[in-house]
């Protein structure tokens, strides 16, 4: 129930995002979801790709600071209030969310949220127990 995510350190300079994504494309990896947050000097680019290990290796060999971390992906109904359900579940289980980002796909009516939490296994268990849909790596990429 765990999905691999790349976190990439990006300096705020012209053309840098283009260079990084070109390296990923040369590794034949397809970007599924992304998020970027920035300060004035640098940003952290977070990506879900279909070939995370290959993409990370290509980035590393280009001297880029990149880490592969585990995140969870949940599917929720695309209706008002649907997202508050899993948030409440995590809150009641005392599991902190570090960050998250959402996306939708063409193949499904649902909305999807990537969650980075303090304890993946605990979060996965409590969400599954309460009937929230969790995607594993295979399911995630198949849906795309």
């Amino acid at each position: 129930m765990i999905i691999k995510q790349l976190s990439i350190f990006v300096e705020n300079k012209k053309g840098r995002l283009a260079e990084i994504t070109e390296i990923i494309s040369k590794a034949d990896a397809n970007i599924r979801a992304l998020s970027i947050a920035d300060t004035t000097d640098f940003g952290i680019l977070r990506l879900i790709v279909d070939r995370p290990d290959e993409a990370a290796a290509a980035l590393k060999s280009s001297g880029i600071t990149v880490s592969v971390t585990n995140v969870i992906a949940i599917g929720i109904d695309d209706t008002p209030g649907a997202f508050s359900v899993p948030m409440r579940i995590l809150s009641e289980a005392d599991i902190d969310v570090e960050y998250m980002y959402a996306f939708i796909t063409r193949k499904s009516e649902k909305a999807y949220v990537i969650l980075r939490v303090a304890d993946n296994d605990a979060a996965a268990k409590v969400l599954l127990d309460k009937g929230v849909e969790l995607l594993d790596e295979e399911g995630f990429h198949k849906m795309m």
């Binding site: 976190s7 990439i8 350190f9 990006v10 300096e11 947050a37 300060t39 000097d41 640098f42 952290i44 001297g63 880029i64 600071t65 990149v66 880490s67 971390t69 570090e98 980075r116």
Partner: protein, 439 residues
């Protein structure tokens, strides 16, 4: 460990006797240079200098400084004071810019050099029982052979492994029971890290290393602490100083007290000057070190401008030596930056960065003028990808670096995290500073 003294007569001489010895040697040297080196003869004539005019040590101030450019301009043998047949060894510096600087030794020079090094390594704790691995590159560089001869003189067992081939170095250390190492601080640390990495196959207790004679690059107290911690087992390292223009290593070195580097004053007469004005500074001042090698005969150098910034303490040391001690090199006069009226050396920033493990050892200082104020930006490369999970971690790292540097420099700075390899690499001496103020 007891403080051992190799040559008590010279190292514990009263200041009065020492100064008398220095004066007689200085007069002899001036006379010698006047008679044997055209370059000095012409200079002396121009400035009206003769040996008779040198009445006290401070009369040395009448003699013009010798610079690296003077050595280069006379490449390769223009400053020789003896016929070539009297020369038994030639060394040269790297020559990263222009001609290398060549130094030449008579037999007597080599004997003096060995004696100088012998005193320093003995003061550091090496003895005739020591098994020493010399991990400096042999060749034109003076470091390896200088230490080699000095260590042989005290009777140590010398293993000339030279630089590189870390696996082999570690194997000899284990198999030979090497207890003393001659290396640069950074290589000594690298060897310790490599030994630890192979710790499962070869546990650290297979190494008998207990003394490091480190030199050829600066070693901050933070770096030293890290090297000692990584080798463990009460490993103790000392710093020594010298330069090829002045024989090589052997000018000064630390005793077990590690309270400054004892200068071999019977051979080297030292002054501290203001590097901008060239004025000699009063005792205790910090400034550029100027050295006269009183006993050199093959290629004598008078009042050589080292460009190294230090200060000299003439108090007697706890170890019993009366020889003056210079502080560790604070910086290079040509690296010194003045930012908002404060003197800043890249080496100070380097000292602050040691121990910060999330960044690479490469850094850059960018100085700008914004409005009427100078600003200093310190750029460091982020290599620890595990910090990318939380912004807070990156900000915390930035603040840690900021606070450490600010505490040392005493001025406000900006710290920028940049990508690995985005700071330009240099194979020779690194250009750490980008000063945009003049533009």
């Amino acid at each position: 460990m007891k403080n051992r003294i190799w040559n008590p007569e010279m190292e514990c001489m009263s200041r009065k006797d020492l100064e008398a010895l220095q004066l007689s040697r200085l007069k002899a040297l001036v006379d010698y240079c006047d008679k044997n080196v055209r370059f000095y003869h012409e200079r002396f004539e121009k400035h009206g200098i003769t040996a008779e005019k040198i009445k006290c040590l401070s009369d040395i101030q009448y003699i013009p400084y010798t610079t690296k450019d003077d050595l280069r301009d006379n490449y390769p043998f223009g400053l020789l004071s003896v016929p070539q047949k009297k020369i038994v060894r030639v060394h040269a510096s790297s020559g990263t810019t222009g001609n290398p600087t060549v130094v030449a030794y008579t037999k007597e020079d080599l004997d003096n050099w060995s004696e100088q090094v012998a005193r320093l390594v003995y003061a550091a704790g090496a003895t005739d029982e020591s098994i020493v691995q010399i991990c400096f590159g042999y060749g034109m560089f003076t470091g390896a052979l200088g230490l080699h001869y000095g260590l042989e003189k005290i009777g140590a067992t010398v293993i000339p492994t030279s630089s590189g081939n870390t696996e082999k170095q570690l194997k000899f250390m284990r198999d030979f029971g090497t207890d003393t190492i001659v290396a640069t601080p950074s290589y000594c640390l690298y060897l310790a890290e490599s030994a630890r990495e192979k710790g499962i196959e070869f546990p650290m207790d297979q190494y008998k290393l207990k003394l490091g004679l480190l030199g050829s690059e600066g070693c901050t107290p933070e770096m030293r602490a890290r090297i000692e911690e990584r080798w463990g087992n009460n490993f103790f390292c000392t710093d020594n100083y010298g330069m090829s223009e002045l024989n090589g290593p052997g000018m000064s070195g630390e005793c077990r007290e590690r309270a400054g580097l004892h200068i071999n004053e019977d051979h080297f007469l030292c002054e501290i000057i203001d590097s901008k004005t060239g004025d000699v500074l009063p005792e205790g001042s910090t400034g550029e070190l100027v050295v006269t090698n009183l006993t050199k005969r093959g290629l004598p150098v008078l009042r050589y401008r080292t460009k190294d910034i230090t200060n000299i303490n003439y108090e007697k040391c706890e170890c019993g030596r009366t020889s003056a001690r210079m502080s560790k090199i604070i910086g290079r006069s040509d690296d010194m930056l003045k930012i908002r009226g404060v003197n800043v050396f890249p080496s100070q920033v380097e000292a602050a960065l040691i121990g910060v493990t999330s960044i690479s050892p490469h850094y850059q200082l960018v100085v700008r003028r914004e409005g009427f104020a100078d600003t200093l930006e310190v750029r460091v490369e982020l290599i620890d990808a595990s910090l990318l999970e939380r912004y807070g971690e990156l900000e915390k790292l930035r603040k840690t670096i900021h606070d450490k540097i600010k505490a040392i420099l005493g001025i406000e700075i900006k710290v920028s995290l940049v990508e690995p390899k985005s700071i330009e690499r240099f194979t020779g001496k690194a250009q750490r500073v980008v000063d945009l103020r003049s533009k």
